[in-house]
Symmetry: C2
DNA sequence: CGGCATGTTGAATCTAATCAATCCACGTGG
DNA sequence: CCACGTGGATTGATTAGATTCAACATGCCG
């Protein structure tokens, strides 16, 4: 909030700073990218399976998600996309899109031509590596998500999803001490975790009774962060955060580091 | 098999040719990488969570896998690694490993220093993009795997896993018309699909009774490819194969293409 | 041929799904 | 200002898919 730069891409830069050190020059290079700002209403597809995007977009406000549909209509949500995410970077190197991306809420996005990103990378190879890092971190999140779906109970899955959403938003200043936005419906959570809406509803009740966290009208309230983390067995290292951002979501590790530092 | 080049990296090149067009020069550049060949016994870790690799490896013979462990010991297998795979490329850009890689069988690997790959990419940017493509394709496979775990029944999951294993091996010449190696145990399959060994055993029986496929002593026999594909709702497009390799595993698409071509 | 790991089968149990009936919040219009 | 409609959330009863526990069979290796 101290940073008063007016760039539309401020969230994106803030996100990148949680996973790598940026020089002033890096930031300026990113800020001077030619972008088109666009608003998209809730519950609309942004990219569809089979398309060959010519532009990437960066999510500036609102939530979106990746998903696939099975033939009979079953939906699997594979990633929650929050402000600062650049979900389509991979289309630079993998031209055909193999899944869909849609909005949960009304969103504001910055649209950037592949050509311009390409030029940016050529001029600033450091930034190329950085964007790659961003892509690979999402891949790490997929792996963690697979652990949830394969080897966690419904209770643990929801707790883990909440931990991840809170942690990711916390480090970019979108969460308060006690909670964060979580603007998605029961059915969305269910389709993200391989469960049914009914069951998610019941388990949400249990998490509330256990005093860990509650979720209503688009807001997630964390009542007992350490308890929630423990229930989910949440270890944020797969988010590959650095420096202060990491300390912010992982009190234990930061304490360890203090030990070693002495 | 017509290719008699003696390079140890032949499988790797063959694999790359299924996802991109390589020039003779590209191939030579890869073949002239300084590699160390090493053999590793079955059931050993190759890379562990928390490590900072300085070398990448390419799997030349045998099978390996990615996995994570939960605290109480539950294991989630997240990827099957077969000859031609280069599981550790990402360590070039994401230095800390966030999961484990271990061998299923005795394997032969080619070890390459990060430095040398880095030089290769600098001299041959095309190959950099290619390796990236390889990384991103695995990410696509994670997404498909998530659909299995979240929204497929046990029967469909096993069928899908078998389809993927057969397709990936087919395109690099490791499968016959009627089957392919599948050198992993029931417990491994279970931990890959979020099931128990007992249940996998039962469902394998059903797949056999349905006349689709059978699996014993390390070999997968496909009795009815189209039936298996249908049961799994297997659509190989997430493998991002090109040209002949694609046609080989997707009779339907190749038929369609013939239509359009006429 | 023995021994141990792996695989199979059965019975009971449990987690989560399904089906179905409210309930509740919120926005709209009379 | 309140009745009504609607989409989402909750609750209950029942069923199904997968797990667990346990016994037994098979197969592979020395």
């Amino acid at each position: 909030m101290l940073d008063v730069r007016s760039s539309e891409l401020a969230v994106f830069i803030q996100r990148l700073e949680t996973i790598a050190d940026l020089t002033e020059e890096d930031k300026q290079a990113i800020e001077s990218l030619p972008v088109t700002i666009k608003e998209i209403a809730a519950r609309n597809d942004i990219v569809r399976e089979g398309e060959y995007p010519t532009h990437c977009f960066i999510l500036l406000e609102g939530w979106a998600y990746r998903y696939k549909l099975r033939r009979e209509g079953a939906r699997q949500v594979m990633a929650l996309l929050i402000p600062g995410d650049a979900p389509d970077l991979q289309s630079l190197y993998l031209p055909v899109t193999d899944h869909n991306v849609a909005t949960f809420t009304d969103v504001k996005v910055a649209i950037i031509a592949h050509r311009d990103i390409h030029d940016l990378i050529v001029c600033h190879p450091r930034l190329g590596v950085l964007l790659l890092r961003e892509i690979l971190i999402e891949s790490a999140a997929f792996r963690e998500w697979m652990v949830s779906m394969g080897r966690r109970t419904a209770y643990e899955r929801i707790a883990h999803l909440w931990c991840e959403a809170y942690a990711r938003q916390k480090v970019i200043g979108l969460a308060t001490e006690s909670g964060c936005p979580f603007p998605i419906k029961l059915l969305d959570i269910a389709d993200a975790l391989g469960l049914t809406m009914v069951h998610v509803s019941r388990i949400k009740g249990e998490l509330k009774n256990a005093g860990l966290a509650t979720h209503r009208s688009g807001w997630l309230t964390i009542r007992d962060w350490e308890g929630l983390r423990a229930a989910a067995e949440f270890d944020p290292s797969y988010l590959h955060l650095i420096g202060q951002a990491r300390d912010e979501v992982d009190s234990k590790i930061s304490a360890d580091e203090n030990l070693y530092a002495t």
